[in-house]
C-alpha cells in the first residue's frame, strides 16, 4: 500500500486515526501494531509471518543478551542476533545477486551454472533490518535497556509510517516514546501539515517528473540526444529527492499525529557545497547509522594512517551502495561518492574554500547529478552509453521538447528552485514557516487552510492522473 494513493489517504489513514484516537491509552500501541501488520501484509502476505517470527525471536535474544554479564558470551549472543538480522537481509536481498555473479564466473571458466530459484525481495527489508540492528547494538552497548513487551518491540520494527522508506529510527531515539508520548491537538495538526507537505512533494512533483524519467529510461539509448539525456537525469535528480524526502515528511507527519517524533532525514541536500556536506544533508538517518555502526567501529577518522582512513571511507560507501540495491550499478554509485569524499580530504575542501561558495555548490550539484546515472540506469554499459550521450552536446530538440511538454519544464524549474531555496536567507525563513512546530492557535487556521488546499490538489492529482477514458466503445 503506498501513501500516495486514494486507498491510503482517504481510507486507511483516516480509519487508523479514528480508531487510534478512540482507543484507551493502554491499547494504543496494540492498535498501532494491528494496523501496521495489516499494512505490511497488504504488500507482503507471506513475509509478514517471517518478519513477525524473526522479530519476536530477536526480542528474546536481546533480552537474554541484556542479562548476560560475561563479556564473551554477551558478544556471542549479540553476534547471533546481528547474524540473524543480516542473514535474512543477505538471503532475501543479495542471494540472487551473489548467485548471478557466481554463475557469470563459472560461465567464464566454462563450468556449469548453479541452479537457483530467484528469491522475491520483501518490501522494507533494508530499513527494518537496520532498525533491528540498532536495537541489538544499543542494548549491547547499554545505551538503553531493552523493551519489556515483545509487542512494543514488534511495533518499533514494523510501525507503518517508516517501515517502507524510513527514516531509520534508532532504538535509542524512540525507546521512551513507545511507552510514553505526548499527543495533543497541536501535534496532531502539525503532523497533518507535515504529512500534506510530503504528499504534495510526492504527488505534485516527484510523480510528474517520474513519468518523464520512465519515458527516457525506456528508450534505446543509442537514439538519445543530449537534450533528452540531460532532461532525463535532471528529472531523476529531483524525482528521487522529492519522492524520498516526501515519504520522510509523510512518515514524520503521521508519527507526529500519534505522538511520535521521528528524526529528520533531509536538510536541503542540493544546497550542499561539497560531497562531504551533501552527506550531512541527504538521508541523514542512514548516514548516522553508517557512521555509528560501521564507520566508527572501523576506526572512523581516528586511525593512524591516511590509507586506513581512505579505506574506511571507500568501504563504508561500498556498503552504502550495496545497501541501496543488489547490483554493480549501486556499488558504482557508492564508490563515486566514496572517491569524492576522499578527494575532499585530499584537496577539494581546501580548493572549494578558496574558490567560493557558488563554485562549491555548482561542482557538488554537478557531481551528484552525474552520480545518479548509474543509480537509475540499468547496467554498467548502459550507464556509460548514457554518459556519452549527455556529453555529445546535441541540444537541437530542446525547443520541440519544451513546447510538447510544458508541464515537465515548469515542474523541473519549480523543483529546482525549491531544492536550492535555502541558499538565500529568504528561503531559509520560508522553510521555517512551512516546517514550523509549536504553531499558535491564531496561526492554525492559516496553516490548516493552506494544508487543506494542498491536500485537495493532491487528491485531485491522484484521481485525475489515473483517469484516461476512451471517447467511445471500440468493439
Amino acid at each position: 500500500m503506498v501513501f500516495s494513493s486514494i486507498l491510503f489517504t482517504l481510507f486507511f489513514l483516516p480509519l487508523f486515526l479514528i480508531i487510534y484516537n478512540l482507543t484507551p491509552k493502554k491499547l494504543k500501541n496494540f492498535t498501532f501494531l494491528v494496523f501496521s501488520l495489516i499494512f505490511y501484509a497488504w504488500g507482503a502476505p507471506v513475509f509478514v509471518f517471517i518478519l513477525t517470527a524473526s522479530t519476536i525471536a530477536n526480542f528474546y535474544l536481546v533480552q537474554w543478551l541484556y542479562n548476560i554479564d560475561e563479556k564473551r558470551k554477551k558478544r556471542l549472543v549479540a553476534g547471533i542476533s546481528i547474524f540473524i538480522n543480516l542473514g535474512l537481509l543477505a538471503y532475501f536481498k543479495y542471494a540472487n545477486f551473489f548467485v548471478e555473479n557466481v554463475n557469470m564466473t563459472l560461465s567464464a571458466l566454462g563450468w556449469q551454472h548453479v541452479e537457483w530459484t530467484r528469491v522475491a525481495l520483501p518490501i522494507g527489508i533494508s530499513f527494518f533490518t537496520f532498525q533491528s540492528l540498532t536495537y541489538t547494538i544499543d542494548v549491547y552497548r547499554r545505551i538503553h535497556s531493552p523493551l519489556k513487551n515483545p509487542f512494543d518491540y514488534l511495533l518499533y520494527i514494523i510501525m507503518f509510517p517508516q517501515l517502507i522508506a524510513g527514516p531509520i529510527v534508532r532504538f535509542e531515539s524512540i525507546a521512551d516514546q513507545l511507552q510514553n508520548r505526548r499527543e495533543t491537538n497541536d501535534e496532531r495538526l502539525t503532523g497533518f501539515y507535515r504529512f500534506v507537505i510530503g504528499l504534495a512533494k510526492k504527488v505534485l512533483i516527484a510523480d510528474v517528473l517520474g513519468m518523464e524519467v520512465n519515458r527516457v529510461m525506456e528508450m534505446d539509448f543509442h537514439l538519445l540526444d543530449s537534450t533528452t539525456a540531460w532532461i532525463g537525469i535532471l528529472a531523476y535528480t529531483f524525482q528521487i529527492y522529492f519522492d524520498f524526502s516526501g515519504y520522510s515528511d509523510m512518515a514524520i507527519g503521521i508519527g507526529r499525529m500519534v505522538g511520535f517524533k521521528f528524526p529528520e532525514n533531509f536538510d536541503n541536500p542540493y544546497t550542499a557545497k561539497s560531497i562531504t556536506d551533501f552527506w550531512r544533508r541527504w538521508h541523514m538517518t542512514f548516514t548516522t547509522f553508517m557512521r555509528l555502526y560501521l564507520y566508527y567501529p572501523l576506526g572512523g577518522n581516528r586511525v593512524s594512517t591516511k590509507r586506513r582512513l581512505y579505506f574506511n571511507l571507500v568501504f563504508v560507501f561500498f556498503v552504502s551502495g550495496l545497501w541501496h540495491g543488489a547490483s554493480w550499478n549501486f556499488i558504482l554509485w557508492g564508490l563515486i561518492h566514496g572517491l569524492f569524499l576522499i578527494l575532499d580530504r585530499v584537496f577539494l575542501l581546501r580548493f572549494i574554500k578558496k574558490s567560493g561558495a557558488f563554485f562549491g555548490w555548482l561542482y557538488t550539484f554537478f557531481v551528484v547529478v552525474l552520480a545518479w546515472v548509474p543509480f537509475r540506469v540499468e547496467g554498467i554499459n548502459n550507464s556509460m552509453l548514457f554518459y556519452r550521450k549527455m556529453f555529445e552536446f546535441n541540444f537541437s530538440s530542446l525547443y520541440l521538447q519544451f513546447i510538447q511538454n510544458r508541464e515537465l519544464f515548469v515542474i523541473l524549474v519549480v523543483a529546482f528552485f525549491i531544492s536550492i531555496l535555502t541558499l538565500s536567507g529568504f528561503g531559509t525563513k520560508l522553510q521555517h514557516i512551512f516546517y514550523k512546530t509549536g504553531i499558535s492557535n491564531k496561526q492554525h487556521p492559516a496553516y490548516f487552510s493552506v494544508a487543506l488546499v494542498l491536500f485537495i490538489l493532491c487528491i485531485a492529482t491522484l484521481a485525475g492522473s489515473g483517469f484516461s477514458p476512451f471517447i467511445y466503445f471500440r468493439f
Partner: protein
C-alpha cells in the same frame, strides 16, 4: 481528515450530493473476493485499489479539478489521446499518427486488400448486392495548419494516400469525402469540422448524407428520395458529436470556439418504403451522426455493423455481434453495402468481410476439405522434418501429436484453398 473520510464514504455509498458523472468510456474495475489465495497473490489488493480509485466519493469533482488545472496552466487536455492544436483545435493523437504515416501498413498489404475487396464485390453483385467504399474525412487532413509544431509533417506515405490511390484504380465505387472536404474548405462558410469534435461536424454529416444519396443514384442508377439543406442555423451551443472531444476533457470551463452550423433539412418521400433500397453500413463511429434518422426516408432499412463487431439493426436483437451471424447470408439479401471508414480505420478494409468471405463463401463442401486434410496428414507422416516440428508444437500446446497433426492438416487445407482463390 476523519471528517473527509466520513463524508466521502457516505457520498460513495449513498450519493447524497448530486454530482454530474464523468464523460467518456472507462471500464469499472471488478472487485475480487477476499480469499486466502487472492490475498496471497495480491489480486484482491490490486482490485480493491482499482475499485476504490474508481468509486470513491466526489471522484468526478476531483478529476474535473485536476483536468481543469492541467488545461488552464499547461494547455494539456486530459482524455485518452487528446492533443490541443493551435486555435484551440482538438485532435485525437491516433488520427495524427495515421496522417504522419506512423501507422502505415505498407503498399503491398493495401494493394492486396483492394484486390480481395474486388472479389467480394463480384460475389455480392452476383446476388444483386452493390458494394461501395466511403472514405470519411480525417481532421488532420482538414486542419493541417493547426497541428502542434512538435509534429513534423513530411512526405511519407500513409494509409489514406495509398488506399485512395488503389481504390480509385480499381473498379470499386468510391466516395472520397476526405478529399472532397479538403477541396470544399474555404469555399463554404459552414465548418465541416468543429474545433472540439473528432468527427465531421453535424453540418458536414448532413452534406455527406445528401451527397451519398446522389452518389448512389448516379452510380447504381437507383432513384432515391432526396434530402435538401434548406437553411443553416448558427449556434455557440454545440450539439451531439460537435464537442465530443471537449466533453472528454471533463473540465469545468468551456473551450473557446467559434459558432457551429446546423443544417435545416427537408426530406422527400415520393418513393414508397417498399421501393427504397436496404443498406448495410460497415463502419466506424463516423456513421453515428448520419444514423440518426436523416437517411430514414431514403432507405427502407439501415443496418449498422459498428467496427464490424456490434450490430445495430431492426433485423437483430440488441447486442448481436457480427461474429455470431452468417455475414454473407445476410448481406446477399440487402441492396447495398457501404464500407465507411475514416483514414485512421482504413485498416478494417483489410479484414472486414474478407475473412468471412473465405470462411462462409469460399469454403468448399466438407467432403472436399476432409479429403484435402487426409492428404496433408499422410504427407506429414512421410516427412521426418515436418514430424519433428509437429512434436515440438504439440509439446508447447500440451496436446497429443495426433491432434497437432490434424490441426496442421486443417490449416494447410484451408491455406491451399485460399491460395487457389487468390
Amino acid at each position: 481528515m476523519a471528517a473527509l473520510f466520513m463524508l466521502q464514504m457516505v457520498q460513495s455509498k449513498y450519493h447524497i450530493i448530486s454530482i454530474t458523472g464523468l464523460n467518456g468510456i472507462s471500464k469499472e474495475p471488478e472487485l475480487r473476493n477476499l480469499t486466502f489465495s487472492n490475498w496471497n497473490n495480491g489480486s484482491f489488493q490490486d482490485s480493491l485499489n482499482a475499485y476504490i480509485d474508481f468509486n470513491f466519493g466526489f471522484r468526478p469533482v476531483f478529476v474535473r479539478l485536476y483536468n481543469e488545472l492541467q488545461y488552464d496552466l499547461f494547455k494539456k487536455p486530459h482524455g485518452r489521446g487528446l492533443v490541443l492544436g493551435k486555435n484551440n483545435i482538438l485532435f485525437e493523437k491516433w488520427h495524427i499518427d495515421e496522417y504522419l504515416g506512423t501507422t502505415y501498413a505498407g503498399e503491398d498489404k493495401i494493394k492486396y486488400a483492394v484486390k480481395k475487396l474486388q472479389i467480394v464485390r463480384s460475389y455480392l453483385k452476383e446476388h444483386n448486392t452493390e458494394l461501395m467504399i466511403l472514405i470519411a474525412p480525417g481532421k488532420p487532413y482538414y486542419f493541417p495548419e493547426y497541428l502542434p509544431d512538435y509534429y513534423q509533417v513530411n512526405d511519407s506515405p500513409n494509409n489514406y494516400t495509398t488506399y485512395s490511390k488503389y481504390l480509385k484504380e480499381s473498379d470499386l465505387p468510391v466516395l472520397d469525402v476526405n478529399e472532397w472536404f479538403v477541396k470544399l474548405k474555404g469555399q463554404i462558410e459552414q465548418p465541416l469540422f468543429t474545433q472540439t469534435g473528432t468527427h465531421w461536424s453535424e453540418f458536414g454529416a448532413r452534406l455527406v448524407a445528401d451527397s451519398l444519396i446522389k452518389f448512389i443514384e448516379g452510380t447504381f442508377n437507383r432513384p432515391m428520395n432526396q434530402i435538401h439543406i434548406s437553411d443553416t442555423e448558427w449556434s455557440y451551443n454545440l450539439r451531439k458529436t460537435d464537442n465530443d472531444l471537449e466533453k472528454l476533457m471533463n473540465i469545468y470551463s468551456k473551450v473557446n470556439h467559434e459558432k457551429a452550423a446546423y443544417a435545416i433539412i427537408k426530406k422527400d418521400s415520393a418513393i414508397d418504403q417498399k421501393d427504397r433500397p436496404s443498406m448495410v453500413v460497415i463502419g466506424d463511429s463516423f456513421f453515428w451522426n448520419i444514423y440518426d434518422g436523416v437517411l430514414s426516408d431514403a432507405f427502407n432499412k439501415i443496418s449498422y455493423f459498428y467496427y464490424y463487431s456490434t450490430i445495430y439493426s431492426p433485423d437483430f436483437k440488441s447486442d448481436t455481434k457480427v461474429k455470431d451471424i452468417c455475414v454473407y447470408c445476410y448481406l446477399e439479401k440487402q441492396d447495398l453495402v457501404i464500407m465507411l471508414f475514416s483514414p485512421l480505420n482504413l485498416g478494417y478494409l483489410r479484414f472486414a468481410l474478407i475473412d468471412d468471405y473465405y470462411e462462409e463463401v469460399k469454403t468448399p463442401d466438407k467432403k472436399v476439405m476432409d479429403s484435402l486434410k487426409i492428404i496433408y496428414y499422410h504427407r506429414m507422416q512421410q516427412s521426418d522434418k515436418w514430424m519433428n516440428l509437429i512434436r515440438e508444437k504439440a509439446k508447447q500446446r500440451n496436446i497429443s501429436v495426433d491432434s497437432m497433426m490434424w490441426r496442421d492438416a486443417d490449416y494447410m487445407a484451408k491455406k491451399n484453398f485460399r491460395e487457389e482463390i487468390n
